[in-house]
Symmetry: C2
Subunit: 223 residues, 2 copies
C-alpha cells in the first residue's frame, strides 16, 4: 500500500480530495495547520470529518502565520470582504500553499510517501496564484530536486484531482464517495461553532456549487 | 532603500550572507526558526550576532519540525555522526530549505521586499540537495508564480552570494566585512553554551575553512 500525505483544511475541497486519495487505495496521512487563521473552527471540522474515515493518520502543525500577516485570514485588522472584488482578494495568504506543500513534502519524505494530494481548484476559485496548474507544475519540479529521496531516485508526485473540476462537479464527486458536507467548513469568517457567514467569496462559490449540482446545500449559516 | 529578507541561522554562512546583503544597501529583515533543532543554542548566537548589526529587524518563527522528524537534527533518537559518511548524511532535514524559503517568501511579500538572501553553499557542504544551484533555480521559478505580487509584476529575487565560494573564501569575505566569527555557532551538536563538538560534518568543514584561509579559528570547543 502506498502512502500519501493529504492537505486537509476542513473545507469542502480538501475532504473530497482525501476521499479520492483513499478511493485510489492510498494509505492516507492527513496534514492540517493551526496557522493563526481567523476561521479556526475549520480544525474542529477536520476532527469531525475524520471520524467518518477509517485508518487515516492525522497531524496538526502549529505555524505562526499571524506573525507574518498580510491577509484578512491571518490579520484581525483586515476584514473579510462580503462583496466580490476584482483581482486577487485580501483573503489571499502570502505564500500559503508553498508553505503548506513544503511541510507536506518534508512529512512525505519521512513517510516514504509516493504522493501529496492537495485540493486546489482553478475553476471556481478566488484567483489565488498558488492554485493554478503552472504553479503546481513548478512545485513538482522543485520537489524533484529538493529531497534526499528524490536525489536517490524516489520522487513524490503532486496529485491535484480537483484542479480542473467545477465546484458542482467536486460536490457531485464527493456525494458519490459518501461525504457528509454538513460537517465541512468553507467559510473564511466562520464563527466558533463553524457556522458560515454566507457572504464571503468562499461561501458564495460553495453555495453556487450546490445550486448548480442540484444538491440541497447542507451548510449551517449564522443567520 | 530596498527590503530584503535574510535567512539567519546563527552559523558562519548565514551571518556572512547578512553582512553581504547589508553591504549591498538592503534594509535587512532577518528570519530565524525555532524548529526543534538539537542545536538550539544557534538562536542565542543569532541574538548575540545581531547586536553587531545596526538596523536589522528580526523575527523568529516557531515551527514544530520535530513533529515531522526524520533527521539527526530534529529527532533526539538519531545521533549526529562524528565521522564522515558517504552520501547525504542523516543531519539532512527533510525539505528544510523549501520550508524556510517558503516562509521567507511569505514575509518578503508582506514587506514588498525585492530579495531573499540565503547562505547556501555547494562547494564545502554536506551534500544536501536543497543547497544546489539547480534547486535554487527551481525555487526561483516557483516564487515567480506563487505570489500575488509576482502575478502583478513584482518579483522577488533569490540571492545566494555564497553558493560558489569555498568555506575559506566565505570566511575571508566575512572577516573583510568585520564579522566576529567567535559569536557564530555552526556545530550540529553544540551544547547549551554554544560550544562546538569539533567532530560533526559542520565542525569539520568550518575548521578546514579557517585553516585554508590562514585565519585563527575562533570557535569555542567543548573540549
Amino acid at each position: 500500500m502506498s502512502n500519501a500525505v493529504v492537505l486537509l483544511s476542513g473545507g469542502l475541497d480538501s475532504v473530497t480530495t482525501l476521499a479520492i486519495a483513499q478511493s485510489q487505495g492510498y494509505q492516507c496521512f492527513a496534514l492540517s495547520f493551526d496557522y493563526g487563521q481567523r476561521h479556526l473552527s475549520e480544525l474542529d471540522a477536520v476532527k469531525r470529518l475524520l471520524t467518518a474515515f477509517s485508518d487515516v493518520k492525522h497531524k496538526i502543525i502549529h505555524l505562526d502565520l499571524d506573525q507574518i500577516g498580510g491577509s484578512a485570514l491571518t490579520d484581525a485588522n483586515i476584514d473579510v470582504p462580503t462583496q466580490p472584488s476584482s483581482g486577487i482578494p485580501v483573503t489571499y495568504v502570502p505564500a500559503r500553499n508553498t508553505i503548506f506543500l513544503s511541510l507536506a513534502l518534508g512529512w512525505a519524505e519521512v513517510l516514504s510517501a509516493d504522493a501529496i494530494f492537495i485540493g486546489v481548484n482553478a475553476v471556481d476559485y478566488s484567483g489565488y496564484p498558488d492554485c493554478r496548474p503552472e504553479y503546481i507544475e513548478a512545485f513538482q519540479t522543485l520537489a524533484n530536486l529538493a529531497t534526499k529521496q528524490a536525489i536517490e531516485g524516489k520522487r513524490i508526485k503532486l496529485e491535484t484531482p480537483l484542479i480542473h473540476l467545477s465546484k458542482a462537479e467536486i460536490i457531485q464527486k464527493g456525494v458519490e464517495l459518501g461525504i457528509d458536507y454538513s460537517l465541512t467548513v468553507s467559510c473564511y469568517d466562520a464563527d466558533r461553532q463553524g457556522r458560515a457567514c454566507g457572504q464571503c467569496d468562499s461561501c458564495r462559490l460553495r453555495a453556487a456549487g450546490f445550486a448548480e449540482a442540484g444538491i440541497a446545500d447542507p451548510t449551517v449559516y449564522q443567520r
